[in-house]
């Protein structure tokens, strides 16, 4: 019976709503007091039933829940024959509850998108060699599984036979499919876009990388910050206190009306729900954008970070040398470039690759008498011309004279941190190229965004030589740059910054810098959804897209202030309600309940705004997962 009533809560809400409407209609329009009264009485009895049942069960386990307060209030109203109040209060409570449930599901939608990506079933090989579909929970390590085109990989495993293209976006954030062949590692939750593979299950369920990500995100939403624990403790004593207070008021004044109004006004509604709602929406937004935030503590700490330390220049640069600047001299530069390409084609020097990539496809000519000059470059015969490709020293050796402009260019290129490649044809300088490691596209804007979000110090600690580090720092406007750093130097430096009173976030790859990740106030692992990164860091950026970093920071800031807004709304509402009860005439139970339920919806809607949070000027399109081309400023 109890269960039946509870399962029909929504219908009860509807019926009680209709009865109240009938009651008011007959009272005001028909002037039929008898019908009006009985409609409201029946509405009250209907409405209070599910609330009373829950109150009873709460008391059984020694919890004074909101249901208890409301039930007593309604019974009180009933006793003093204020059926209007009792009916309206129960209806508002039930209806508010219904709306809360609906809207709460919205705030959780982003998390649900993630958990829905978890595989449900698997095709397992049985003893007779056939494949049979079973629930993914029934798969054991060592089982042989079949994955077909379009199917989800159900476990972390190794490919035994077959090959296919797998979309690993759920793990790496990278949506370009990866080829997997025999011996290749596959991950649970990734999708086989093409092909058929048989895999051996190595890790199943919550042990898989995806399982860990889900568990982390699920737990993150519930991990409590100091403030939340305070609210928890507070609300544990709060409801009983309200109950006692109402009782005392009644004992002194003998005014039941006043006592039950206090019960309703004292409901802690928005206070207990406000912070968790911001939390879940913020973490959900992160999960949708490839940012895993480990709980509200992390959100609070990250939002107040004033120093961000990068573990290497590679985070900021492409890590791939490219031609950054180029000058051509004299005529026939086309011809010279084609000769240059012909020579570099035969070289495996790292700079040669950059040169060829810059020239692009051109007709090449066979090369003779190639002579590699150590520490200088290459001299060769192409099409009957003597072509020298190399540094300034080689040019001097080849007695190539540099005119004034060329000399200036050389100086400028060197100053900008380039490695130089000069090309001379028949003793005459034709091409000058400056090659350097490029700053990742957009990083400059991202760092600017970080600064605008209130980060004061941007520091790079790198193993590279100081010169390279300084150049990157200067180009990007970093505040501090240190080269020649060993991992222990890095963690020592972080400690030093912390002693100076800075709140430090450390961005690393999570592989060999775990001391620094752990030491920093916030450890951010970037570019890999690996086990280690997930475990040692506070924030995981699932792919190496740098623009996620300002988004993450902006998101935590918005989430932290959203929580504060919600606490303010909740506390404010209770204070205003109590004040108006004491100092005004118009306050009664129904209005109190209405305001309460409304305030709960307000905090939920306020939290929901976080789901749509997007950094202004963000380059990243959430829907397509593709970087948008930066528009000229």
């Amino acid at each position: 019976m109890q269960q039946y009533i509870l399962s029909k809560k929504n219908q009860i809400t509807l019926i009680s709503g209709i009865l109240i409407a009938v009651g008011f209609f007959s009272h005001f329009a028909l002037g039929n007091a008898f019908l009006a009264e009985w409609s409201l009485i029946i509405a009250s009895i209907f409405g209070v039933a599910p609330i009373a049942i829950q109150a009873y069960q709460a008391l059984k386990v020694k919890v004074v829940s909101i249901d208890v307060l409301v039930t007593i209030a309604v019974i009180g109203a009933f006793l003093i024959q204020n059926f209007e109040e009792s009916a309206v209060v129960t209806f508002l409570f039930l209806f508010g509850h219904y709306l809360e449930q609906r809207t709460l599901n919205q705030t959780r939608s982003a998390i649900k998108e993630l958990t829905d990506m978890a595989p449900e079933s698997a095709l397992v090989q049985t003893e007779d060699g056939e494949f049979e579909e079973v629930d993914v929970d029934d798969v054991d390590e060592g089982d042989v599984l079949l994955v077909k085109t379009g199917g989800k990989v159900p476990v972390d495993g190794t490919v035994l036979t077959g090959e296919g293209y797998i979309n690993e976006a759920s793990i790496t954030g990278e949506s370009v499919p990866v080829t997997k062949t025999e011996g290749g590692e596959v991950f649970a939750g990734t999708i086989l876009e093409n092909g058929t593979i048989q895999i051996r299950a190595d890790k199943v369920g919550e042990d898989t990388t995806f399982g860990k990500i889900i568990e982390l995100v699920e737990e993150a939403q519930d991990s409590k910050s100091e403030a939340e624990r305070f609210i928890d403790r507070f609300s544990k004593w709060y409801t009983p206190t309200v109950l006692v207070l109402a009782f005392i008021v009644w004992a002194i004044t003998q005014n039941i009306e006043l006592a039950i109004t206090i019960l309703v006004l004292g409901c802690p509604g928005a206070l207990v729900i406000g912070v968790p709602v911001s939390n879940v929406a913020g973490i959900g937004n992160g999960a949708r954008n490839g940012i895993l935030l480990k709980g509200s503590e992390v959100i609070n700490d990250f939002s107040s970070v004033d120093t961000i330390v990068f573990d290497k220049t590679g985070t900021l640069t492409v890590g791939n040398p490219e031609v950054a600047e180029k000058e051509v001299y004299g005529d026939n530069s086309e011809e010279a470039l084609s000769y240059l390409a012909s020579v570099e084609q035969e070289s495996d020097h790292p700079l040669a690759k950059a040169v060829l990539a810059n020239i692009g496809p051109v007709d090449t000519t066979p090369v003779d008498e190639t002579d590699v000059v150590k520490g200088g470059g290459i001299v060769a015969q192409v099409n009957g011309h003597r072509v020298a490709v190399g540094n300034v020293a080689l040019m001097e050796k080849e007695q190539v004279t540099l005119n004034k402009k060329a000399q200036k260019d050389v100086q400028r290129f060197e100053k900008n941190g380039n490695s130089l490649v000069l090309t001379a044809v028949d003793g005459e300088l034709k091409v000058l190229m400056g090659i350097r490691d490029q700053v990742r596209p957009g990083v400059k804007q991202d760092l600017q965004n970080l600064k605008e979000l209130g980060v004061k110090n941007l520091v790079v600690l790198s193993g590279d030589n100081q010169g390279t580090v300084d150049l990157v720092a200067k180009e990007l406007g970093l505040t501090e740059a240190h080269g020649h750093m060993l991992p222990e130097d890095k963690s020592a430096h972080i400690e030093k910054l912390q002693k100076e009173g800075q709140i430090v976030a450390f961005v690393g790859d999570g592989v060999n810098d775990s001391p620094s990740l752990a030491l920093a106030d916030i450890g951010i692992a970037m570019g890999s959804g690996t086990d280690v990164a997930i475990e040692t860091s506070d924030v995981v950026l699932m792919n190496s897209d740098f623009s996620r970093l300002p988004h993450a920071l902006g998101l935590t800031k918005s989430t932290a202030s959203n929580m504060k807004q919600n606490i303010l709304i909740a506390v404010g509402v209770v204070l205003v309600l109590l004040a108006s009860l004491l100092f005004s005439e118009w306050m009664n139970m129904s209005i109190g309940m209405l305001v309460h339920e409304a305030s709960i919806l307000v905090v939920i809607f306020n939290g929901m705004r976080l789901l749509k949070y997007r950094l202004r000027g963000d380059r990243y399109n959430v829907k397509t997962g593709v970087e948008e081309i930066e528009t000229a400023k």
Partner: protein, 77 residues
């Protein structure tokens, strides 16, 4: 000891979870320290002894409180 993850219908207030947690903790055969409700995903994780307690009994206690159980997964630990 077995590990159970019980998924419930949407919980709309953290105190509902408190209620369920304390009810479940009262059962014999439950590892009290293991009971952990995850409010935002409407789940409860429990370690319990399958010899003294069946998962159906746990489900019943929760459903009696008025919170329908959607599914539960049990794994031997």
């Amino acid at each position: 000891m077995s590990k159970a993850v019980i998924t419930l219908e949407t919980l709309s207030c953290p105190s509902c979870l408190k209620k369920i947690e304390s009810a479940v903790k009262g059962l014999i055969g439950i590892d009290q320290n293991s009971v952990r409700g995850v409010f935002n995903v409407n789940k409860i994780r429990i370690d319990f002894d399958e010899k003294t307690l069946a998962i159906e009994d746990i489900e019943k206690v929760i459903e009696d409180l008025g919170y329908p159980v959607i599914k539960s997964k049990v794994k031997a630990a």
